[in-house]
Amino acid sequence: MSGAEAPILQCSGIVKSFGGVRALRGVDFAIRRGGIHGLVGENGAGKSTLTRIIAGIHRQDEGSIRLDGEELRLADANDALARRIVTIHQDINLIPSLSVTDNILLNNELTKGGLLRRKDGRKRVADLLAKYHLDVSPDALVQTLPNDARKMIQIIKAVNRDARILIMDEPTSSLNQTEVRVVLDMIRSLAEQGVGIVFISHYMSEIFQVCDDITVLRDGQNAAHLPRETTTLDVVVGAMLGSEAAAAKATGSHARRQIADEPLFEVAGLSAPGKLRDVGFTLRKGEVLGVTGLTGSGASDLAKAIFGSTDIRRDGGRFRLEGREVRLDNPHQSLSHRIALLTSDRLREGVLPDFSLIDNMTLPILDRFSKGSGFLDEKQRREVTEAGIRRLNVRTSGPNATIRQLSGGNQQKVLMARWLETGPKVLILDEPTIGIDLGAKAEIKAIIRDLTAQGVGVILVTTEIDEIVDMCDRVLILYRGALIREYAGTDINREAVLAASISGS
């Protein structure tokens, strides 16, 4: 990439506030033709806000954006699309009940005289799928496809828009390691075709694999702008964290502890049609038990099935907590036995976006605040929320703020606080650090260690192998819904876990 080439898009001095919180405080950012621009920073550093302004979702308070040297004033997100600025969101937003073809061509259909040119459309999609080596039928319904295929389709859909600027927000967060490579290859070939790409990711290895240059944001300001070839991971992490770099980065390996052989929670014969087959294990007091596997291996389903989520149909399964048989038929029962679940899908299964932090944090424990009179004790609710905000270091303008105003990572901390407030004996965490920056990750890990020291058993469902190696005392590997392997203590290493997950043996 020649640095001399004028950028297609140039942001200068972008300032943006939400309510009382200043999200961006004069940010510069440029996108070149055919360049892959890494955008990194901690949660709340301003990455999402910046890309949403470029995508026409928000409008900057101050500063200018130039597209091809001309001042750009976007009316809305559609206006951005019309100028071929396309965003691929972290969440997969396809219509599950429609076919691959219909999804990719949605709102961009090939027509003749008002009628669909079905054959041409199908062929166009088949060509695209072949081009990007995605082995699915153009007629398959999206709801029948695994997560990674959906992500690829989402990207192909954007590509079919003839994008010149492509903003990718955590494009790999829902993928496992083998699938990541395919997606990264695709991103590289898009850049070669001249698309300017903004690549947001918390996975530093991916940033270093594909990006030409890296812009680091911190506190809504430019912290550094680094060409990939001449920089190192330490420099980038240092810029992200600022002066306190060293402390937060020291997430050193989890010292292998001796866990007393005191069973806390036992699962036996747990099955769910099409999802889980006869899973059983024992969680000990103070243990972090990892559960991992490829996407679709059933790890997330296992978390929900234990918790009794009503959207998973269970077919057999017995549970013993502290030696006593317990029924966990629904979340209400599970919570009354002090078993809690942090789900991975923050948007659909976690937050109530328009509700306050108080409402979001105290949702499972509402009844605790209305003992006696039947009226809610609002003062106590506020105090509990404020304590949670302090404990988890949530960045917010106050407990009455709507949770929508917070960055993704801060929302996740609020949810973590929600479940901690239920006082769990067994805490099931499904991808607790998904889409979260290094600082927040370290904080959440510290909290998990704190909990285990108090005797809480943690079931950590994750597809991040580093997290397993770092955190878990034992790890269970699921393959197509069945438990195929268990590693403990010093036997836990990246190669073994990865190999078992992929091979199924």
Partner: protein
């Protein structure tokens, strides 16, 4: 991360935010004010106490049902059987009062709505059928039963003691014969009952754990379920509450009119839903304010009054109500757009 904490600027932008958030309220109050001005201009009789207290008595039925409907709509459901429940309650109560006395009529009457509410809620939650369809079905059942009870005739002869509730006014009932300067305190009893219902529902929604659960269930039932909230119970309770308000309204209607027929309360459900939406409660659940529903009801009732006073052909009245419903939903969308703009 201590250096990363942005201190919120107190006071900054707060009044703008407050203004944006209250846009819906301001809008409905403006419509209300406009209506009152137009009505006073059209008819000198409009602003008289007699007309106002008549309006109060008239709007009590729709007011009470709208309070219950607000609860159901916040929980993300609808109940279109309320009109038929009003009819079934008032005919059954009338029949029982005439034949077996006031108590029998009151007890049976007040139980009909909650019973249908449990049935509606049970079918909706256990079989995952949209409440619109379920209550459409039970609505036809209830209406049919009302005709069975009356045999298609008007049931008259309700005891006079019972009629006091619907026809009495505060000072008259308290024994003041000369109201004089305190005329404005001579409020119709049904209106006072309606206000009491609103106070109770408001407390229920904003000051109790149940109320918070209703909002959460309406906003996202999966999140609520995963938080240990028993979604089905909450929804059934909400359907019971709207049934209870429908039965209460049916008894008041019977008491005010003094007679009952199976055809009463037809179309009431849509007027009520329109009033709730005009009051700013979302059709999609999760947000709403029961006190603002009062404004919605008053607007609907005043528009009806306006149509009467301006001598528009009675056959055009439903047309006008239809236009109002659509306008209300459009205003709802506009309101959301303004609230979300930054």
């Amino acid at each position: 991360m201590s250096d990363a904490v942005v201190k919120p600027a107190p006071g900054q932008n707060n009044w703008m935010d407050t203004l944006r958030r209250s846009y819906g309220l301001i809008q409905s109050l403006a419509v209300l004010a406009l209506l009152i001005i137009v009505l006073s201009y059209l008819s000198p009789r409009f602003m008289t106490w007699i007309n106002i207290s008549n309006l109060m008595a008239q709007m009590s039925v729709i007011l009470i049902v709208a309070a219950g409907m607000t609860v159901v709509m916040i929980a993300g459901e609808l109940d279109i059987s309320v009109g038929a429940i009003v009819a079934l309650t008032s005919t059954t109560a009338a029949y029982l009062m005439v034949n077996y006395g006031i108590t029998a009529g009151l007890v049976a009457g007040i139980l009909i709505g909650p019973a249908f509410g449990i049935l509606n809620g049970f079918i909706v939650t256990q079989f995952k059928i949209p409440s619109f369809i379920v209550t459409l079905g039970t609505s036809m059942m209830a209406r049919s039963l009302a005709f069975v009870v009356t045999g298609g005739m008007v049931i008259a002869g309700v005891p006079a003691e019972f009629k006091i509730i619907g026809q009495g006014k505060l000072l008259d009932v308290l024994g003041f014969t000369e109201t004089g300067a305190f005329e404005y305190l001579n409020i119709p009893l049904p209106f006072l009952i309606a206000i009491l219902v609103y106070a109770l529902v408001w407390i229920l929604l904003t000051r109790t754990a149940f109320g918070k659960k209703v909002y959460a269930v309406g906003a996202n039932s999966t999140v609520a379920m995963l938080s240990g909230i028993r979604v089905a119970r909450v929804k059934i309770a909400c359907m019971m509450i709207v049934g209870l308000t429908a039965s209460l309204a049916g008894l008041l209607l019977l008491s005010r009119v003094g007679a009952s027929q199976a055809d009463s309360g037809r179309g009431l459900e849509f007027e009520v839903i329109a009033a709730v939406v005009i009051g700013g409660t979302s059709l999609y659940g999760g947000q709403g304010n029961v006190l603002r529903t009062i404004i919605g009801v008053v607007i609907i009732v005043l528009i009806r009054n306006f149509l009467n006073l301006s001598r528009i052909d009675i056959f055009w009245q439903d047309f006008a109500t239809g236009v109002i419903i659509i306008t209300a939903v459009l205003l709802d969308a506009l309101q959301k757009y303004i609230a979300s703009r930054r």
